[in-house]
């Protein structure tokens, strides 16, 4: 619609322009009705010229501004405009120059001497012809004047009529003194006024001469006017004159008119030729200016039209370069440029589509990655993936928990560098590096790390990651903390050993003891004194050692034995106080300090087992103090919470020698003891009893010196269930417990 309107307007403007130029040219030609329009047309065309100049100026300013600001396409547009202007202006100027030259020479050539002389001669010829007739009419008039001298006014009219007929005059008038008309006769129908003598005639006649003159008529044709004095009859008679008007034959008139007109027009044109040249040059200049300016404006217009799609393309390309793939350009038409723009639009559409797909793929990958991260986060198994240069690429929470270092914050950093910040991690990395340096990218090993709270046993597997091209792209290490599992296996094994020992060893002990006692009883009275002493010593030793062995076997039996739990509500503080009082009553050299949490109240525990635990711990501590001067022992109870779970805590500390670092790893294993006496089952039993309550026990050295045994266990069955559930989900707890 807009395009059609623009085309319509363009056609209208062109028609108007062309029409006005045609009319201007026509008006220049001559004197017809267009001639009168010349002024208006000139003005109209001049307005057109001014309008075009303004339009061109605006376009030029815009082009210069675009060129200076290095607007895309402005250079191409400038070149196109310059080319168009040169191509259109140069021929026009050349044509104009030759037209003006031709015009001036052409006009000059019209007015040649020959033509002028010819016309002048024609005029003289006509004049000569008429003069012959004029002389004839003058003679006739003078004759008539002589004939009229005799006539007095009476009868003058009749004589005049006769003379008129004879002479062929149109009008005869006799004028008396004071220009009085005496008599007149006229055939001139068109005039109702009788001709009177002009001043010129009067002057001529006064000089005694007759008058003859050629009078041009108003429209065309001529008449010959003559005048002669009528001779006076007597000196006293009135002075009279005869005026006559004679016709000129129509043929002669028309010929003379033609010659007169030609001569007059030629003279006029010749006189005005400078003006004529100016006028034609002016018209030509105006037409040239209009054409030239229209061509220049057209150059701007068409270059703008041609460059617009290119500018759009440049802008579109920039937009695409900046990442805006949704750019769609307006179609300029069905030409080559249209094809180009359509191709561009198709390209951006495809790019946009590709980007959308890429985004979707990326989102999918991100989701997968997040999903993987969640899985890795939930895993209790530690996972670390490394680049070939040992930079940490991925590490899950469990890996951090197991190795005691926040590996997730170290993602992107070299593992060897991070390892310096944690001794556990350093040991782990050393083992891994040893394998990889040996060219062993696929390995599996159970590794033991030394930690502050004991040793950690990890089952670690490492695998090389290969890229699609088959090159080594990194490593992934998967490891599990199997310390607790190992402990459980060991505990189970020890339980089995204890049970078998109790069973296998206890049975023959009684016959041995009985046999020794019988041997003693039978032989002691019968043998000599000397031998009797030997027997007595030997049998006593056998009985004593068998007794000691029995005790040992009973202890093993106790360790292996697992009677049902008898959980009841009981005041733990009261129980602790009871056991402590028992030891205080023994008058030992150890001060026992109690710090009991009054908020603890009644808790659900097996009192027998807890009593055993307290006995073992306090007994161990007192033995460790070994009658040390100023030996002290602290027993503390407290109510703790782990989230929502309520826990009771029992801590037994002493200021004795503490544990040796080597022993601390195996302190809870059966048959491990730092004491000269003892079965080595005390702490193993403690651990077993605590675990039966769902709690845990830790052994550590106090900073001030001495040992610290800490027990944490749930206060009731509800807390126990919650704790178990939590342990199942929490790798943290597991890690710490391990």
């Amino acid at each position: 619609m807009k395009r059609a309107a623009a085309i319509g307007l363009g056609i209208l403007g062109f028609s108007f322009w062309f029409g006005s130029m045609l009319l201007l040219g026509r008006a220049t030609e001559g004197a017809d009705e267009f001639g009168r329009l010349y002024g208006s047309l000139f003005l109209l065309n001049a307005i057109g010229v001014v309008t075009l100049i303004v339009l061109i100026a605006v376009n030029l300013v815009r082009l210069v501004r675009d060129y200076r600001s290095r607007m895309p396409g402005s250079r191409l547009k400038s070149r196109m405009v310059a080319t168009f202007v040169i191509l259109s202006v140069l021929p026009l100027v050349i044509v104009f120059y030759f037209s003006v030259q031709f015009l001036n020479r052409g006009i000059d050539s019209w007015f040649s001497v020959d033509v002028e002389k010819g016309l002048s001669d024609a005029l003289n010829l006509s004049r000569a012809t008429l003069e012959i007739q004029m002389r004839d009419y003058l003679s006739a008039t003078e004759e008539m004047a002589v004939r009229l001298q005799e006539w007095i006014p009476v009868g003058l009219a009749g004589e005049l009529a006769r003379l008129q007929r004879q002479s062929g005059a149109l009008e005869l008038t006799v004028i008396g003194s004071n220009s009085r008309i005496v008599a007149s006769i006229s055939d001139r129908e068109e005039l109702d006024v009788i001709a009177t003598p002009t001043e010129e005639i009067l002057v001529q006649l006064a000089q005694g001469l007759s008058y003859v003159g050629l009078d041009p008529l108003a429209n065309s044709g001529y008449q010959i006017r003559t005048a002669a004095m009528i001779p006076m009859v007597s000196p006293f008679s009135e002075q009279r004159m005869l005026l006559a008007i004679f016709p000129v034959s129509e043929r002669l008139s028309s010929l003379a008119d033609a010659v007169q007109h030609a001569y007059s027009d030629y003279g006029e044109l010749s006189y005005l030729r400078r003006l004529l040249k100016y006028s034609l040059t002016l018209t030509l200049t105006l037409v040239l200016l209009l054409s030239l300016l229209t061509a220049v404006w057209g150059a701007f217009f068409f270059s703008r039209k041609l460059v617009a799609p290119i500018q759009n393309l440049i802008a579109g390309t920039r937009a695409v370069a900046q990442g805006d793939y949704d750019t769609q350009l307006p179609l300029p038409g069905n030409d080559d440029m249209g094809f180009l723009v359509r191709s561009f639009n198709e390209m951006t559409r495809r790019l946009s589509e590709a980007r959308r797909q890429a985004s979707a793929s990326q989102a999918t990958i991100e989701n997968e990655r997040a999903y993987l991260a969640i899985i890795l986060g939930r895993l209790s198994t530690g996972v670390i993936s490394l680049e070939t240069d040992w930079r940490v690429r991925t590490a899950n929470q469990a890996a951090g928990s197991i190795l005691g270092f926040d590996l997730e914050s170290g993602i992107g950093r070299p593992l060897l560098e991070i390892a310096r910040e944690s001794s556990l991690l350093e040991q782990f990395v050393d083992i891994a590096r040893r394998h990889i340096m040996a060219g062993d990218s696929e390995w599996r090993e159970q590794i033991v790390l030394k930690a502050e709270g004991g040793r950690r046993v990890l089952m670690c597997a490492c695998s090389g990651l290969n890229s699609e091209s088959g090159e080594l792209a990194g490593y992934v290490m998967v490891f599990d903390d199997i310390t607790a599992l190992m402990q459980a296996q060991r505990d189970a094994a020890w339980g089995e050993v204890a049970r078998r020992l109790a069973h296998e060893i206890k049975n023959p002990l009684t016959p041995i003891q009985l046999s020794a006692e019988r041997m003693r009883r039978r032989l002691l009275d019968r043998i000599e004194e000397k031998d009797a002493q030997v027997v007595e010593r030997a049998t006593r030793t056998i009985v004593q050692q068998v007794e000691a062995m029995k005790e040992m076997v009973n202890a093993f039996s106790d360790y292996a034995r697992a009677p049902d739990m008898d959980l009841i509500q009981i005041d733990l503080n009261h129980l602790v106080l009871e056991v402590a009082d028992l030891y205080r009553a023994r008058e030992i050299d150890v001060t026992i300090d109690l710090d009991l949490d009054s908020e603890l109240g009644s808790v659900e525990i097996d009192p027998g087992r807890v009593r055993q635990i307290l006995h073992n711990l306090i007994g161990n501590a007192i033995e460790a103090l070994n009658h040390k001067k100023g030996g002290r022992l602290w027993v503390r109870t407290a109510l703790e919470t782990d989230g929502e779970i309520r826990l009771l805590s029992i801590v037994v500390e002493d200021n004795g020698p503490g544990f040796s670092l080597d022993a601390i790893e195996h302190i809870f294993d059966p048959y491990v003891t730092s004491k000269p006496k003892g079965t080595g089952l005390g702490l193993a039993i403690v651990k077993k009893l605590v675990e039966e309550h769902g709690g845990r026990v830790d052994a550590a050295n106090r900073d001030e010196g001495g040992a610290r045994m800490s027990i944490v266990m749930p206060v009731d069955d509800e807390a126990r269930t919650a704790l178990l559930r939590k342990e199942a989900h929490s790798t943290d707890y597991k890690g710490e417990r391990a």
Binding site: Y38, F42, S126, E199, G213, S264, E268, S279, T283
Partner: protein, 160 residues
Amino acid sequence: MEIRSAYTEIRDDVFYVNARIDYRLNQSALDALENGVRLNVELDIDVRRRRRLIWDPAVAELRQRYRLSYHALSERYVVSNLNSGDVESFSDLATALSWLGRIDRLPLIDAPLLDDDSRYDVSIRAVLDVKELPGPLNLLSRFWGDWRIASERYSWRLER
């Protein structure tokens, strides 16, 4: 070129103008005339009612137009009255111009058409110009050549 004298006379309730105009042609006009270019002579006569504050409205406007040309064949100067169509020819230019310059009893306006209480002024001006040329020549003639000669406007009060 100037108006030598001008006056009005009333006769039978009609105002008539009498004037004497001295037409003097410059060289351009004379050359043009000798070369066959016709000259137009126009006599502008206005009657305006005088008003004190605002412009004076024209009550009557009279345009008397003549054409002066040289007739080469008869070697005479021809004066045509374009209003009446009358043609007069003269053997010399001076006679023609003096004939042109003599305005006798030219009817101007009927006296009853005029308001008795108002004052009226008559003004006269003579303009001599080259005849209307065809097309672009007409436009250019305004800028080139000094053919156009105009007299000062001559005014007088219309006396009854």
